[in-house]
Symmetry: C2
Subunit: 411 residues, 2 copies
């Protein structure tokens, strides 16, 4: 992508009304825009970043057998009344002009359980796992952590359907491992802990995936040796005994919940009549699990844990571009021609290149923009390049730089 | 994709409460599910189809310079009050728990004009064109045409920004040609007409792209020779004189609006203060255009115009799969092994294959399902395949069949 083809401009100043590091940097760099409290649009660079995060999530969900679909936002109240979840402050609700009311989905257990009634009849139709990446709406009382707690946000939600507790437990563990792969790939592996949380009626515990981060709203107790954690809300002596760990081995941290997995059992299938016929001909409720990851929250957590005082800093796998090609001395035809040619050659090799081809911008401003935008490597093309026939490549993370011949770069 | 990995089941019966051909067939084939009136979820096959339609739209919008972003659904009322569009029945509105109200986006001129105030300062920042593919919400009084008029639906909306009327007109025509390429590629080229419609305050006319279809809700008058049409609402003698056509040359048709393009001029930029400085240093409102296509409506129109009494029938470019590989006599190990091997070989060549690997299903049911699902070509693997070392390939559209050796198929 050429920077002259991108409409967004970077900003030096901290946007008013923002306190979260993630929102401040992402707005300054032109990745997102604030529409109102807790509501952010994705500008082109932000959308590219989210799509790379989504691609990782999608791949790992397909690897464990998940099939993608897209449920609706508008929800049918009749279905939610059966599970007693139509009440509550979390909803955005609205009247339907032709009569009745609707609400905007904030999770989708009811809709998918109702759907699956037409598609699951016998144990032979099980297990199944389905997921979507969809915009969710929650009428949050406070929205203060930038893109990490919004009123409108993307969610990957996967739902699984099983004929036995054993099969549900097996899939639950497979999904947990899939989640660990996702967080490792997007650069949150070291800072993210599988965290014991409250389980609800069916299971003793559920698990959250918590990323250590000062801007997080949760408190967790981390056991470094076992690489697990316990949410403060459930950190009782009984739970610690269950896990075989002593309170003295734990350290307290602030953290942000980037994912969670729940065994739901028959909580939704029973009231909604999602039943199957087992091997003996008996009708039983299908056992369900639900598994969420917020791609926007993941993006926010990456910013909170990787960015530095100079700007954003993306791990390779989620960065919208790999190279930030910087043209210095753009008025000299030969220099520009050289940069144009390198851009074309790198793109032809399938490299993801952002090309700062702007004419009336000083070198200092271009370098500052490159640090703010945060792609892994900058390539500088200048007069010096012509003289020495080498390109300077500067690493965003360490700041180190080396020079390369064109052939070495294009590979 | 293996059919045993897909949870959806086809249905023989017409779903109750549906009258539209598109919804009846898509529900029976397991592409979509009805949540309530005018609200349909996309099941895996439906999502794959929409994604192929979106890929065509995205490619053609990028070809004319469009850059993708993703605006929000939740809208800030303050912005809409400035253009006097906060009132009106089209909205789904909702209270915000912490105070105030919001509405769910049904179009996005206001949001994007407000956004661009931070990014357009001078004529040097123009022109720009931005698009998104996003879920929209409209509180429709009646929702009766299946997925062609929903309360929740996908929309590709592109907005363009210009410093002169001339530049706007130039882009408007480029976009119209891009739209014609899109409709040709998705199989609606022959049946879709660029149709003169009312223009609003800035331009005399706008244009709709209308696909001839008995289920359409619009009436248009078609001029076959010029391959243009006029919407009944504006088909006055004055308009016909403008276009240089006589009423006698026109034929009346029902049609569905699959796209539209509008010159907005300063209708939104002026009240929202989206101004630029021109070459002489004068501040002027940016001139805008907006350009919509409904991918779901396109999908519905394809069903209405291509499907036959046996089921769906997808043009190659939008079909979720090219081959429907049908295993007959699945209990004989050698036959199944042969089908498995062909499936793997075709996939390895990058072919898009749907594999009916089900065991307890009769040949007749498999053939009926293949016709209902509507992929371009079926490949039949049976005992006969082993005996003759040839595969029967049956074309969905014409019904003709030919036999091929494996090497010819894999190519």
């Amino acid at each position: 992508m050429r920077q002259t083809g991108l409409f967004t401009k970077t900003a030096k100043n901290v946007p008013k009304d923002e306190v979260a590091k993630n929102a401040i940097l992402l707005i300054r760099a032109g990745y997102i825009d604030k529409v109102m409290a807790g509501v952010y649009s994705l500008l082109p660079l932000g959308l590219l970043t989210i799509e790379r995060i989504n691609a990782v999530i999608r791949e790992e969900m397909q690897r464990i057998g998940g099939v993608e679909l897209l449920l609706t936002s508008l929800q049918n109240p009749d279905v939610w009344k059966k599970t007693s979840r139509w009440e509550g402050d979390v909803w955005f609700k609205s009247v339907i002009n032709s009569g009745g009311e609707t609400g905007f989905g904030w999770t989708q257990e009811e809709e998918i359980a109702a759907l699956m009634r037409s598609h699951i009849q016998s144990y032979k139709d099980l297990p199944r796992s389905l997921f979507q990446i969809q915009t969710k709406f929650r009428n949050e009382e406070r929205a203060k952590s930038g893109i990490m707690r919004g009123r409108e946000f993307l969610m990957k939600d996967l739902y699984s359907f099983h004929s036995s507790e054993n099969d549900l437990s097996h899939f639950y563990e497979e999904c947990a491992i899939g989640y660990e792969r996702i967080f490792a790939r997007v650069g949150l592996g070291i800072s993210t802990y599988r965290t014991v949380a409250s389980g609800g009626a069916f299971a003793k515990y559920s698990h959250e995936f918590q990323t250590l981060c000062e801007a997080g709203e949760d408190i967790i107790y981390v056991h470094e040796g076992k690489k697990i954690a316990v949410n403060k809300e459930v950190c009782t002596n009984e739970v610690l005994a269950d896990l075989g760990i002593a309170r003295t081995e734990l350290t307290e941290h602030k953290a942000i919940e980037v994912g969670n997995i729940f065994k739901l059992g028959a909580r939704f299938s029973e009231p909604l009549g999602l039943l199957f016929t087992d091997e003996k001909g008996e009708r039983k409720p299908v056992l369900m699990g639900s598994y969420g990851i917020g791609p926007g929250r993941v993006m926010g957590a990456i910013v909170e844990t990787h960015a530095d005082e100079r700007g954003l800093l993306w791990p390779e796998e989620v960065s919208p571009f790999h190279y930030h090609l910087i043209l210095i001395g753009s008025k000299r035809t030969e220099v520009r021609a050289r940069a144009d040619a390198l851009y074309a050659a790198l793109k032809a090799r399938g490299k993801r290149v952002f090309y700062d081809d702007r004419e009336d911008v000083q070198a200092g401003e271009k370098f500052a923009d490159a640090e703010l935008l945060g792609f892994p490597e900058a390539i500088i093309v200048s007069e010096k390049t012509l003289q020495e026939d080498r390109y300077e490549v500067k690493e965003r993370r360490g700041g180190g730089s080396r020079s390369f011949r064109e052939q070495e770069l294009i590979g």
